[in-house]
Symmetry: D2
Subunit: 337 residues, 4 copies
């Protein structure tokens, strides 16, 4: 249930109501807004009837949460959530570009790629140390060594980092080396890992699975919020369809569709979303035009040498040029880059 | 084969080569460019060897057309084609918005809707007289009466029109009443109808089928060009996937993917592409951002009364507001609206 | 509405009720069963209230038809329909195998292929004269000449024939030369052609489109029945998905899913459904095992020479061997071959 | 590379060749067949040239493994592999039915369901203790308590068991309580878990992901074999498509398609594959008809009370009846039940 309090309700009254909700065995939620406080109650909603909230003097309205996801739902939380990723706010006025190579291959490669993207305006570095690969014979990432490189480069460039975690057993070590967790498309329904993410308070970039409905993505995010971590950033990266013209089909309408359903920020990955270097720029512009809060772009100092995803990685000069071209689109969307 | 002539080749020399190509039983094509003339030869390419074109003094290069579509291919025609639709050029510097109701329901409804969209900046009117409907019990369109209304409103508003044709038997009557033909998604592989379109010289808006690969769409267009009508405008309108969050999944990456493969103009239909009124504006902006040459938008004077597709039709005020919001995106894309 | 009459209702009483239904502007349907008569009323069902049918002494029950398709629905017609195709009943105790080449290429080829399949037990001949092809440069069929060959071979082998019709303009000539119409997957939503099929009384094999939901297929069939032709045979032939391992994904669960929803017979085309010769035999057996009423199989006297679909066509010896292997599966399913 | 030895090659010669392969840094494989020994060499195949194997007197032929999966490929291993699951061979002459409830809910429920399925002929018990659920608010399984129940019931019924493992951290405890591991559809590309499965020698039932191509499934299996566990059973359970008529689309052609590519046994799960109780029987028959080595069927003592998947679970009497009906299909397929 969503319980909207009157503007004149005091903090003490809100706390008292939360206490009553908890006493019924339900989970109380506190969502202070700019004008009034909204409370939530998760669990068997019929029990709530006993409190006769509708006739409480400080309660404006009580309504059920119809969506199967609760904490993630727009109904629960009408204003957009801003998530901090290593000090960079995502979901606010500025569009955030996260960039870097698919995989961390060496300190040199990571530093050169990182310098290039930061110089061009990227505000978060990406790079994978644990690479989920379809084939067991493909490069699987540098593991711990990769994480160490990422942390060093992060310090040298004074830029926060995002890196993928693929297993519960790695959560701790990734936590020590990076500023935010990425859950890849293939891990979107690794529910144990989602719960582990809920134990952290760091930002989690949750990528949509290749066969995930928008509702599935929101329910996966709900796992993280239900465990206590509100810092989730959703990422559209294309779904699998029948057309081989692109590696995945980038579902940009997911951006307004998610924003209609949820208060969480949404970013777009045009690199995996198309799989073709030449389409990254147009789809980055389109993502900003339809309301995305950020972009996740693969850039490698030399894509022809990349150990993975070279075909979809931008050359540094292409990335710099893209950043310049994005600015007027961000302005048209009423935002800054 | 694509035969690129030297800049100094004369018209007579080009004509002579075309004559030799035809004499072999191949189909010659003449593609004059700004700097040099390109010839094409369609048919069994091995026969062409007999002409020893590579050693001809006026031939710069000879290369095979690798794409399964030939006339439609970018290889054949490196600059973008501009198609005239009732005097309005599509594919050039100005982005063209085609708008109007899904179905023509009455003169009043068509006129009111048409006035609203023209006043807001639409340059072509749309409206269906023959409606392909999944159920035999759904409204099937006004037929000839609808076409007559469309022509009257077109004259009253001095604006060209686009309307759907669903059967070869209707081509003539549609031709008499409208300025351009639309082939709907379900007719994209009605090959007899495609051939009939090839007999016309009017513009044809060819919509991508719900399960059509980009290659299938280009081969469908090839049917029209192969019959002699070069005036084809391709339209991305979403494909069918597993996610019910939107009516179709709008594949905006199809815009750069088509432009990489073909010289034909590409427009986007965000109304069918999403099926949700609220998503039409963001996806219109995104379409322009990624390079679309135009938009096809459903607007009804009162969507709540619409006999079809009301859920995805804009109110006139929403359309007017959208047109204002699109302008800065068009400028960011280096174009005008 | 479905109006079930009491067992003791007379024919005159049924006729009287139908008269009353028609007088309201609804379309009455007469469905005599072995024990009692069922009437139907198509149109705005609310009007029917005026007749107070529930209190009529000869009416046992009145219930709405919930499915969007009415005439096709199982609710309307609880026993399985048997459709005659040139004298061969489809949908009864015997499983019917329809076989022949994809395209009619010559009299020799059609006769040799036809003799082989008839000798092996096929009871209907197939062969296409009008071939819908993705590319305009692919073999498009022999047209009228092909139909003439088909008719000659049909007479020589004393076996009825099935052939595809792709346009309303060809319906008459196909009708003169063949025993049944096939609507191909790409024509499943050619509504004008569906209506034309409804004007005939010959059997129509309606193939599921590559992106058609089962509901879409049933609504397409409804177009034919609504025009007056009850002789529709549905055909599952695979849908388009993301996996290139097979040409289409054969959805065999469509067989029980259709039979749960509709009384029409269902056949399966494992040739298009897989696109791979080696998978035709196992999928034919599976189709029979899950309840299909027949099979549509491509057989060519020499698939390596076939002008279309050679990769999925069986050699005559393979077909003969398959027919022998199918017999015990038909028996296990309680049917004969 | 696949290195086929001559029939007269001795074990010592084979061992010597394997030694030479290992000395190059490649991974040698020993695949003794009934007539001759086949060796494999995994790794950078160009290095192998140094051994000049083609001219070795005991080598009959050397050929590359073209498939991206190596150990799993049919090329490597021409006869069908039989995997033992708790003493029950899967992949041999007898078709194996694995049955039981979706989730273990209580000792009573598991015992009653287990007694029913074993009495009817199931040879392996299934039941989930860790349930991956789309929503965090759905029943997540009994965990360790569920595993204990499963082990007790297994002993009481003297029947081996299969249960799902969802995280590397649970592998050990599942190993202690069950006879085989199931990797669910959502875990098919949990590569860390796949590698952990490779450390075991117990049978692993690997379910195809909802968006997994057959090639993806085979590459996932390759992860397990590459780590040393050859006991993998592949399971087709439907993929996600656009049609809501069934929960998933059961891709039965995957059975012959996998068998053409791989030597591993294949079973089919018609319960998840359709999501509808009424379609389980026809699709079970079809699975056997097209060559499946076994079935995985959900049966609950009372599906209306089931905490998960009740809609697709069979009643015990339905399962008993299905087992009787399957027998003639197994015989038609040349196998026993």
């Amino acid at each position: 249930m969503v319980i909207v309090l009157r503007p004149e309700a005091t903090a003490a009254q809100a706390a008292d109501l939360m206490h009553q909700i908890a006493a019924l065995g339900l989970r109380p939620l506190h969502m202070p807004g700019s004008e009034r406080v909204v409370l939530g109650a998760l669990g068997d909603e019929r029990i709530l009837d006993r409190l006769h909230l509708e006739s409480h003097p400080m309660v404006e309205s009580v309504k059920p949460i119809l969506a199967p996801y609760k904490l993630v739902a727009r109904e629960m939380h009408s204003h957009d959530t801003v998530v901090e990723l290593g000090g960079v706010p995502i979901g606010g006025d500025r569009i955030v570009v996260i960039a870097g190579p698919c995989a961390i291959e060496s300190h040199d490669q990571m530093l050169a790629s990182g310098q290039a993207v930061v110089a061009a305006g990227a505000r978060v570095l990406r790079g994978g140390a644990f690479k989920p690969r379809t084939s067991p014979y493909a490069f699987q990432g540098l593991g711990l060594e990769g994480l160490q490189i990422l942390r060093e480069v992060s310090r040298e460039l004074n830029t926060p980092t995002l890196t993928e975690v693929v297993d519960v057993a790695d959560v701790e070590v990734v936590d020590r080396h990076a500023d935010a967790f990425q859950l890849g498309a293939r891990s979107m329904q690794n529910f144990r890992l989602l719960k582990a993410m809920g134990q952290s308070r760091k930002a989690v970039v949750l990528k949509r699975g290749p066969a995930a409905k928008i509702e599935d993505l929101l329910l996966a995010a709900e796992y993280i919020l239900a465990e206590g971590n509100p810092n989730v950033i959703l990422c559209e990266r294309g779904v699998q369809t029948f057309d081989p013209a692109t590696r995945n089909m980038l579902d940009l309408a997911a951006v307004p569709a998610i924003k209609a359903r949820s208060h969480l920020p949404v970013i777009v990955d045009p690199s995996h979303g198309t799989g073709v270097r030449e389409y990254v720029a147009p789809m980055s512009k389109a993502a900003i035009a339809c309301g995305a809060d950020g972009l996740l772009i693969e850039v490698h100092r030399d894509p022809s040498e990349a150990l993975s995803d070279g075909k979809q990685s931008l050359f540094p000069a292409q990335f710099a040029s893209l950043m310049r071209e994005l600015a007027p689109f961000a302005r048209a969307a009423g935002r800054a880059l």
